[in-house]
Symmetry: C2
Subunit: 324 residues, 2 copies
């Protein structure tokens, strides 16, 4: 049976020996830098685990899996410019360490390099994979645009928010699983189920991110707990609270959102108290559980013996239970 | 015999009915905008003319030719952010009309859409075309990075400058011709000659740009004549002048370059006088003639009857003689 830990080591070794280019150094160093920031690499792992359901030989899926991770890091490099983020995984972002021009151009090359890695696919499957990748990549950009649009809107609905995170986050998880299935040799129906599993779990994953930002254990969660509340970030929790609150509660929430000067701890506690009064935590937990439940159900419905799905199911379970 | 004018009309009609996407509008409107700014479209025309040497049916080359133009406009959108350019073809640049974030993200989608258009290639040629495109695309980014690096360096050599414009401008012309050859069915040797033709003519083309900026006819040249001199842009002419000048002349040139306040006409005339004293104009014209000569020679060496090459040769001749 495949072991996610071993797959991760194989992946890391492959990333370490992979060259994105050399000259000019100003163009390629930022790529090595962002790729070395030790992301969880769970997207390419999903591809390998998905391929391993259908094939003993996962080496054919290695470079395409890396393409998914390189693409993901390209979006981080460009999103960080747009979001003016100073830090990524606790280290300076590329546009901070170098400058915005470098982050734009290095990001562009990363996207091209992702396509390079995707070419390592059998000829008869190449066009299908690229069509699916192109659609996914464009949708991720659409999600980022919607996310930016939402910054200046206060009437974002739950439906709009879920569609935004579906595009920005979950279609890439869907593609990661789909890609493994296509390379491994899954039939069309199974490929669709794998995509749906990634899509559902991706939404659950992002909602969990929103939840952990408020209710995470500070000793485990990588970012500052309450950061989204301080930044007035339109998360699932805030959107639900704004939609469920009565007039008085809504006014109080809006007061905290519009207050330019505030004590951080006081604001976090006040907003958390409002969330508490509206049962936002349990409502969010239920939603997360629903989406992950659907995703796991998609995986269970794959028409192949259970033992082959076990490693992917176990890994998916870890994503459900993550605390960071 | 194919007619470049007709091919251009076919291309324009295809561009006009092509959709890059709809929602969110903030993401896709800038793409339609930049694609509507009436570039000369000579890169996709090169692809169609190249394909027409080997095949009567150029419709197979239409979408891939459009990919070259969409890619080119993607680089313009991102380069304009990096260069803080206010205008493109006389109209506000995307980052000026919208903002830098929009120009980053719309540009990203354009690169993806270029790959979409490239998929319209017979299965057995797809990987080869994508490998060549990926290499070309990365080289264009390398050229842009070198161009930015040169902004803060005063010891750029002729060789370094020629390599920069080879990457930034001419490899895409090489690819445009190569692409048409591959789709049309040219043999490997001819495909290499087509690439070399584009590469050589691309360098000639960029040097001509440098020349026209100083010696162009203001009534024909699209940009302000002398604009590069005013901006101290490191063109072929300036690099040659700095390398050929004696100490006294070099000092005078450097004085004009470092002067923060100056009368534009006076500066242009002074720098032109220095160019004149060093025969920079004829030296540049000779270099342009050399590169176009090599490019046309590459085309003449194609192993096929002359009548088939005639439309491409005539079109290339127009590029040599252009005054804008």
């Amino acid at each position: 049976m495949v072991n996610p830990e071993q797959l991760l080591q194989t992946l890391q070794a492959e990333f370490e020996k992979h060259s994105y280019g050399e000259n000019p150094a100003e163009l390629y160093e930022p790529i090595s830098y962002i790729m070395s920031l030790h992301g969880k690499r769970f997207r390419p792992l999903l591809t390998l685990l998905s391929a391993s359901i259908y094939s003993e030989n996962i080496s054919a899926a290695l470079k395409p899996a890396m393409a998914v991770e390189v693409f993901h890091n390209f979006t981080l490099m460009h999103d960080d410019i747009m979001d003016r983020a100073p830090l990524r995984r606790g280290k300076p972002t590329v546009h901070e360490k170098w400058n915005a021009n470098t982050a734009i151009l290095s990001g562009d090359v990363m996207l091209i390099r992702a396509y390079d890695l995707l070419l390592d696919i059998p000829k008869e499957k190449l066009r299908l994979v690229l069509e699916r990748f192109n659609q996914t990549a464009a949708e991720v950009c659409e999600g980022q645009q919607l996310d930016m649009n939402f910054e200046t809107r206060w009437n974002v609905t739950e439906g709009e928010y879920l569609e935004m995170i579906r595009l920005k986050t979950s279609v890439l998880l869907g593609f990661a699983l789909e890609l493994g299935g296509i390379i491994g040799g899954a039939d069309e129906e199974s490929v669709k189920l794998l995509y749906a599993a990634g899509e559902n779990m991706g939404i659950g994953f992002q909602l969990k991110d929103d939840l952990l930002d408020v209710y995470g254990d500070p000793s485990k969660f990588g970012k500052q707990v309450g950061g989204d509340i301080i930044a007035n970030k339109k998360t699932f929790l805030l959107i639900e609270a704004l939609s469920k609150a009565d007039e008085a509660t809504k006014s109080e929430l809006e007061k905290w959102i519009s207050e330019p000067v505030f004590d951080a701890e006081e604001k976090i506690n006040a907003v958390k108290a409002i969330y508490e009064s509206l049962s936002i935590r349990s409502l969010t937990e239920q939603k997360i559980s629903d989406y992950f439940g659907k995703g796991l159900e998609n995986l269970r419905n794959l028409n192949i013996e259970n033992s082959r799905k076990e490693p992917l199911l176990q890994f998916a379970q870890q994503l459900v239970e993550r605390e960071k």
